[in-house]
Subunit: 142 residues, 2 copies
Amino acid sequence: MTQLPDCLYCRKDQRLSDLMIEVAPLQVSTLYLFKEQTYRGRCVVAYHEHVNELYELPDTELARFMQDVTRAARAMKAAFNPAKINYGAYSDKLPHLHVHLVPKYTDGPSWGTTFTMMPEPKRLHSEDVYAGLIAQIKAALV
Amino acid sequence: MTQLPDCLYCRKDQRLSDLMIEVAPLQVSTLYLFKEQTYRGRCVVAYHEHVNELYELPDTELARFMQDVTRAARAMKAAFNPAKINYGAYSDKLPHLHVHLVPKYTDGPSWGTTFTMMPEPKRLHSEDVYAGLIAQIKAALV
């Protein structure tokens, strides 16, 4: 049996579910709703394999991953109508390729600057709020 | 005569040259060295047309743009050997698609967190330092 790396995206364990909720599988990745919702509709797209750097992907795989990222972004735009979507891939210490997709609103937090990774880490949301956001994204995921 | 948008990436005027220096044209974009060099080797890849959102690009064009981004990242890795490269596309108020490529070092600033857009905006570097960095990237751009 192949041992999975000790990585939350590979093991999909509680470390993952503490941070995000699965919305839908995409071509070569999974779309998650990020639980920290200071930026309404914020999501993560995580690649399906344990690869660290975007530049490690062969061109055809890179194209498919970015199609997943833009498909998710289009759905977020349709669902929540942000003024702009921000994209960030950092993962200095979590070597598994994932992109943060962060909707920005002209009257909302961090407009005109970079988003904050964890603006209010203790913030609580009800399961109903998450379910509602997920339903909106799924309905817009074409 | 077509009027260019009042955009620094389209007009390539002093607003651009205050912030960055051209390294090389790529397939559908231009690679620039960012003058603020707190993160050694930091660059920008700017798309060649005045498009705002990544998801506005048709799939073939998206693939070519991301090939440019990863080609630049590979060159930065080869030139400076950072532990990780961060990627950020924000542009809430500057509607022209560009990606910040920020090398991160385990003993350097912001390791393990998001990079800062303008950590030391007044920082001065000599033209020689910029020329040296550009030469290293160009030599590694395969």
